[in-house]
Symmetry: C2
Subunit: 210 residues, 2 copies
DNA sequence: AAGATATGTGAGCGGTGCTAACTTTGGCTT
DNA sequence: AAGCCAAAGTTAGCACCGCTCACATATCTT
């Protein structure tokens, strides 16, 4: 089935209705759900409405997803891909092993949380379904791996070194908490307000140089 | 295990004698919802089922709560009261101004997240409704205030000092991230596994002594 | 050309959020 | 004490949602 023309990579180049009946309905549903989650909150989304937005009947989604949670898992999976890509891109913009590279990873994380708070919360709130979703587990570990890589390069140690893992965990913990607090109390705690980059550099230095 | 139903609700507090038709249905509904959230996940709860557990019709809850989100807000409000009490109790178990007091605040936070992961996630995932709920905002600031108090005592500065606020924010960010990662990837990242108390002491020292 | 299979539709079942109209309860006024 | 009246509960019901089933149609394989 792969000898034909374009790949279904969600590029959405020109014609969304070139494949089977509808186009790549699966990708369009995920996009619709993502949008709904972002605008109406993680709970205010329904499969029916996503189908409506995609222009199909309310039963069509179930040809591509087993049930509602599986759709959410699809959204999370896609989001994790983008999150990891953003983190890697952030790291790649700075010299390997530099503190700046580590801080850039954290900044990508925070930026992601701020630009898509609904999806971000979903990613880390969907852990109920994680048990049966090794793919998500794997992608989560992949994201953590980016932090580990950065920390290892910075410390000039092997990524498998427990000390590296420990510091990476501390880094992630900090950045994760900062992201969550940031999107939770948006403009609150203004007295403690700080520039993200300075903050992340300070944190990275404190954790990787002790 | 005496079932001590002490609901510190804004309006009619504990009035066991009156009990109109049913008793304090409001408190019982909140308890039922809390239990449902903890066992079936934050999404797998329905007002109907909570009413069923409380032994009333499915319309009865709407005499006490405007809608579903308001019930959730009630659960969050009650949970925040307990969280703050736990944090204060943790701090009170150690000398004022000691690093141990600060670490104990963090430990209470982590323990709360671990013992009620569903409710914990709800507390910080319900921020969509926070805008119209100044009561929750206020209680959130109250919890933050406990951390600020601890940091201020430790640094021998005023709680209103920006530097204190900044450090308190860092502490909270760290503990919050640690809690979330902890309940998310329960047994994962085992290589980085650490004793909570040691971890929190290390963090507290790092943040409050630089 | 002819299945086989993937992808869509419409009808429909049970459950849910919420409202409306009604009944019961018990405190408060007189 | 009589009686009003608001609080607190009930049943009935609407609209929507998740999901399934039977069926229609488009594409792939042979």
């Amino acid at each position: 089935m792969s000898n034909d023309t374009s790949r279904t990579d969600g590029s959405a180049t020109v014609t969304p209705k070139s494949a089977y009946h509808h186009g790549d309905l699966r990708a369009q549903l995920i996009a619709a759900v993502r949008d709904l989650i972002e605008t109406r909150g993680p709970d205010g989304f329904s499969v029916a409405e996503a189908a409506r937005r995609a222009g199909v009947s309310s039963a069509a989604p179930y040809k591509h997803f087993k049930d509602r949670p599986e759709i959410l898992r699809g959204v999370v999976s896609e989001a994790m891909d983008r999150l990891r890509a953003a983190m890697e891109a952030g790291a790649a913009a700075h010299p390997v092993g530099s503190l700046e590279a580590v801080a850039a990873i954290g900044l990508a994380y925070v930026d992601f949380a701020r630009s898509e708070p609904g999806v971000f919360r979903l990613v880390f709130g969907l852990t109920e379904g994680h048990e049966n979703a090794p793919e998500l587990q794997q992608k989560g570990e992949g994201c953590f791996g980016v932090v580990v890589q950065g920390a290892a390069a910075c410390l000039n140690l092997s990524p498998s070194d427990p000390e590296v893992q420990r510091r990476a965990y501390m880094l992630w913990s900090f950045v994760h908490g900062h992201s969550f607090l940031h999107i939770d109390m948006k403009t609150k705690v203004t007295t403690a307000r700080i520039d993200d980059w300075d903050y992340l550099m300070t944190i990275s230095r404190a954790i990787l140089a002790s």
